[in-house]
Symmetry: C2
Subunit: 203 residues, 2 copies
Amino acid sequence: MSRALTTEQRIKEAAKKVFISKGLAGARMQEIADEAQINKAMLHYYYRNKQQLFKNIFDEVIAEFAPKIMAILGEELSLEEKVNKFVGHYLDLLRANPFIPLFLFSELRNQPHEVVEKVGIKRGGVLKRLEKQLKKEAQAGRIKPITPIEFIANLVSLTVFPFLAQPMLGEIFGLKDKEFEGFIEQRKVTIPEFIMSAINLKH
Amino acid sequence: MSRALTTEQRIKEAAKKVFISKGLAGARMQEIADEAQINKAMLHYYYRNKQQLFKNIFDEVIAEFAPKIMAILGEELSLEEKVNKFVGHYLDLLRANPFIPLFLFSELRNQPHEVVEKVGIKRGGVLKRLEKQLKKEAQAGRIKPITPIEFIANLVSLTVFPFLAQPMLGEIFGLKDKEFEGFIEQRKVTIPEFIMSAINLKH
DNA sequence: CAAATAGTTAACCAAATAGTTAAACTATTT
DNA sequence: AAATAGTTTAACTATTTGGTTAACTATTTG
């Protein structure tokens, strides 16, 4: 094994890149092969067909993203700490992989049940704990009442959406890649401030 | 013209439906023809090829969505009224066309410049006016300072995101279609509250 | 080392799919 | 009603694309 990467690794890298930017239907086996600098037949040697290759990549991407992220919401932290940690971690992850959200949401449409299975968010566990925390804080008069579904929807919306709209933000506000990075970095601070302000009762 | 719809209209309806749910790459001319209950050759008679058919649909969808929406941000309204009107209108529009956002963002990747051209948001106009309003409110001590890009990003994020994540929300929180509608209806109230709380200085 | 095994390639194939043609049919004009 | 323009269909062609095969090369192993 003298080369830096094995053929299988190169295939995975290539497939990941192409699938993520073009989706399942838009990706071409030839393009993946070219990207991996191998013969097209090798794809079929390592992964029987396009479906299986895709499934492999998709599962890997989900496994890389979902667990570490959702776990934060279940940790033993104050609300403010949770929001801070969630936003910070997630933004870093997304900045390094800005095309993942669109890729995931696109393919989510085709098989919602399977995706959620893989993501592994059960309605119990994490959610129940967060619900308790929100109720407790609200009853103590520290925050306004908010359902966990709204809380999570708002948190994830604010964090993820800019990456979906990146090309548009870029065009409208004239943000180059470098400036977009700055914008994201800034949002590590402003999103938690925004959320905590929104639900806080005291200044 | 005895039939309810002309052939061209039926083609457009069908193409819209198929393109929106499958994307450009995933859509099949035969499927569009079947959906429109016509011969495949008719597609080529009315629209020379797949690209042109797609471009037509895409332009129409953008023209239907972008202008009415962005205009609100430039109107002569208080911030609170703007937020209320924007969220209310946009949510209604999206509820009737829940697949549009994913469709737009997917195809946005391929041609960001053209899309923004079509959407017609120039950096001047609407944006400049909103910026002035935000500055004025902040200087008067009524809201916390916020850049227009963050304001718009937050507003649009909170409004649009749930439709992208709909299948996931459905699975995780067990929302059926009917309940999702209720969730959206509820957000007409909670999103403006959330935003105004977040930026307001006084209770 | 030699046989077996694993990895790789170019050429090929078949299915799917976009696009074309010519003829028939229908509505409109003269 | 004849001519013309517009519409629709079935059959066909061209191209793209996922997948296969057989021959070849490198590597492992007995």
